[in-house]
């Protein structure tokens, strides 16, 4: 029945126009329509955080947002976290601290952690653990992830932010 709807949104700093069906989630739109497969589908019901993106400045599960709701909005996905060839401090510390095994949850964790550190650069371990409660990892046991976020926060406090 309902056809495709025209949507215009700023994704990772770039104005993008696309067509999508109203029933498609933002996650489906990113992956299937725009070819941005960094955001992962884990549970597809708002529990695991693997599809986390920052939409209009707040952290959301892209599986719980309709693609058409992005109209006029601003979205940051894992593809927009690095600056060209330069990895974001979080991407660097996740590698250095071996904070991933299978890697499916990693984009979500990095986007979620970025949303926290952009807002609260001095977040402590308790705050980080609380903030990341909506991201599930079945491999690492979380300790290495939390340490990677703490290490990235340290790096980010010492280096001026690149926006």
């Amino acid at each position: 029945m309902s056809g495709r709807t025209y949507v215009s949104a700023k994704i990772n700093g770039e104005q993008m126009d696309f067509l999508c069906e109203p029933r498609q989630s933002l996650l489906e739109v990113l992956r299937d329509e725009l070819g941005m497969t960094g955001s992962k589908e884990g549970c597809n019901n708002g529990n695991c955080g693997a599809c986390n993106v920052i939409m209009n400045g707040v952290l959301v599960n892209a599986c719980c947002v309709l693609g058409v709701e992005a109209q006029g909005g601003t979205i940051v996905t894992i593809e927009g976290v690095a600056s060209g060839e330069d990895l974001h401090p979080l991407q660097r510390t996740f590698l250095d601290d071996a904070a991933l095994q299978c890697g499916i949850c990693t984009p979500g964790f990095i986007v979620a952690a970025k949303a926290l550190l952009d807002k609260e650069p001095d977040a402590d371990e308790a705050r980080i653990r609380h903030w990341l409660a909506g991201n599930l990892c079945r491999c690492t046991g979380y300790d290495k992830i939390v340490h990677a976020v703490l290490d990235a926060a340290d790096v980010m406090r010492k280096t001026p932010a690149k926006v």
Binding site: P22, S25, V58, C64, A133
Partner: protein, 291 residues
Amino acid sequence: MQAIEYIAPASLAEAIKVLAHHGGAARALAGGTDVIIQAREGRRNVSVMVDVKHIAETTELSLSPDGSLRVGAATSCARIYDNAEVARLFPALIESVSLIGGIQIQSRASLGGNLCNSSPAADSIPTLIALAATCEIAGPGGKRSVAVEDFCTAPGQNVLQPGELLVALTFPAPKPHSGAAFERFIPRNEMDIAVVNAAASVTLAADGSTFESGRIAMGAVAPTPLFVKAAGDALAGRPVSAATIDAAAAAASAAAKPITDMRGSAPQRTHLAGVLTKRVINKAVERARGA
């Protein structure tokens, strides 16, 4: 998900017109953290999603000079707990909205959505009842008001008729020497559905020694969130003492009619109803004495 139509009205009048036109096939879309998943999984039959986030009345968060509060139904949990003045005056509300899901859920999920989803275990509803909040509902026939304790009718069901929209929740200003609190029991620290939850609001005499009134509500102990009038009545006019609070907790346990499921057994829930009631009353008293 089945094919749907998406409409984003810019005014309340337009939203009511669209909802009335599509009747039972239409659902309001606020944060979408319940309704999108339910539509996708075929648990709710939705063919029209009416996005109510572009309407002034459903997105406002306003505190009157007298301390009464109006929360547009589509206002997110995060917007509520990020408001320092609301947090100062309504700490029980903050306790509820800051443990609905994780951060990702809280940044989208709305207070009105939590109520309209009408889960027996919803984490905001006992607090709304304890705080004597009122639902402002608009429909083709005009506006009406419903007390939150009368809103839910069965698991996932409520008094909204096709074409009607929950516009806002309104809260009376906290009285002098009053306090409120919310607690939830879950077997882990975050991201879980209540085994039992409870909220209390109490008003004390000026010297803090006697209860003037109290309102107690619980979740996950009946098919709908439960207003336990008898528990509040057990407080009114009595001294603030362990014996009085025990009597209110006993009334709460007696009112609980829980089921046994994967989250807990009926006897455990009945026990928890009393334990949580005692805790939230004690915390509410502490806050009332500090107020």
